[in-house]
Assembly symmetry: C2
Homo-oligomer: 229 residues x 2
Amino acid sequence: MRPNDLPDIRDLPLFRSMDEASFAELMNAAYLQKFPRQVDLIFEGEPADFLYVVIEGCVELFSRHAGRETTLGMVVPVSSFILAAVIRDAAYLMSGRTTEASRILMIPSENIRAIFEKDGAFARAIVRELALDFRVMIKEYKNLKLRPGIERLANRLLRLHDQTAAAGSFMLPYDKKTLASILGMTPENLSRGFATLKAYGVDVSGNMITITDVDDLRAFAKVNPFIDQ
Amino acid sequence: MRPNDLPDIRDLPLFRSMDEASFAELMNAAYLQKFPRQVDLIFEGEPADFLYVVIEGCVELFSRHAGRETTLGMVVPVSSFILAAVIRDAAYLMSGRTTEASRILMIPSENIRAIFEKDGAFARAIVRELALDFRVMIKEYKNLKLRPGIERLANRLLRLHDQTAAAGSFMLPYDKKTLASILGMTPENLSRGFATLKAYGVDVSGNMITITDVDDLRAFAKVNPFIDQ
DNA sequence: CGCGCTGTTGATACGTATCAAGGCTCGTGG
DNA sequence: CCACGAGCCTTGATACGTATCAACAGCGCG
């Protein structure tokens, strides 16, 4: 592990408040590994042997069923994934693979659980993290259950727009195929979605998106703070 | 509060391991109230002032958006709901109403958070509870994203069948309109779903369901332990 | 250079929602 | 006690959202 990675990890909400000894113990047991892109890290159904932290790169969480595949989330630096499975000492409910060359910290589950049992501050940090992740998940669920695909797309574009507060334009952080899978639609449908959003002030040129009339798009998207935030 | 309710509450995974003093403190601050059916308990968007525990009856969690409404969960005795919002000291992401006459325990959020801060065992119990709820939510999300409505119905029937390990028959625990909303489909579609499942050994007569050929239905449903379990 | 992948567009089919109508049950009030 | 009305459920006709299949353009990479 590079010495200058440690502060980033230590600064995560999950590890920030735990005591120094516990953190050192965790880091001592952990592995930092580099992976090329498109490497499978975890498989749905396998026991949760590690908690993962993405230090650099990107990890796609996905699931397959009956010949279909869907993206459940994208993990970007610096954050952890599959905490719930580690805590419950259960099987992963998602598979995960790198989408680009990545550096990943792997912390053995037993160490997480051991320190969780003895360090109250860590337990509380896990609570806050899980509660937050849970609420994000609820929003995604409502998003899918209450909105048609094109509105999910419009809202996602608005979120990306707001995150990169820059001028009018931003880059999609992943290819359109992946975006379609995140939104729960086919690539063909996403393409048509972009076409109809043109009328609401969305210009697409490759991965570059320009929103020329944010208010118009916002009205179309039916923004809802308890789904989108 | 009736004295014989306390053991049931104390025995919940959430409260089981906390120390006696903390539990007494919580119960001291709590209210136990009776509500008729169809009473709104919480409203999406309002601050999470209470943690709720259903002692008797049933609570439906739901959300509205753009003229639509969908059921996000049914809470039956004895369990709590909206723990995540309480912990994050945030707004409810769901609304909740009784579907029948119910007795509900209401614990002020501040008390939950205060004891969470000082009782490590309680913090750990919350972790385990949240992690479990989170995993249930992930499964629901995958269910919705990866399966068509009729397969969701088939799997739900199989789950109800397995829960009430009785002979071949069981009663739907709620009316079909609600079941449709849980499954993310319209009542009309649910009705047609039942009709096509007849061919796979599902007999419907009012709220009484009889599964005559479990294996056949199971094959049709494409059961997946990482969605259904 | 050509292969393969992504993305687009069109034609078509399927899943699902909507609208409408009618049967049924059940609770209420005459 | 019956009659009525409200709500649930079902069924049919139709429209819409979305997926599938196919073809092709553009691009990057070996």
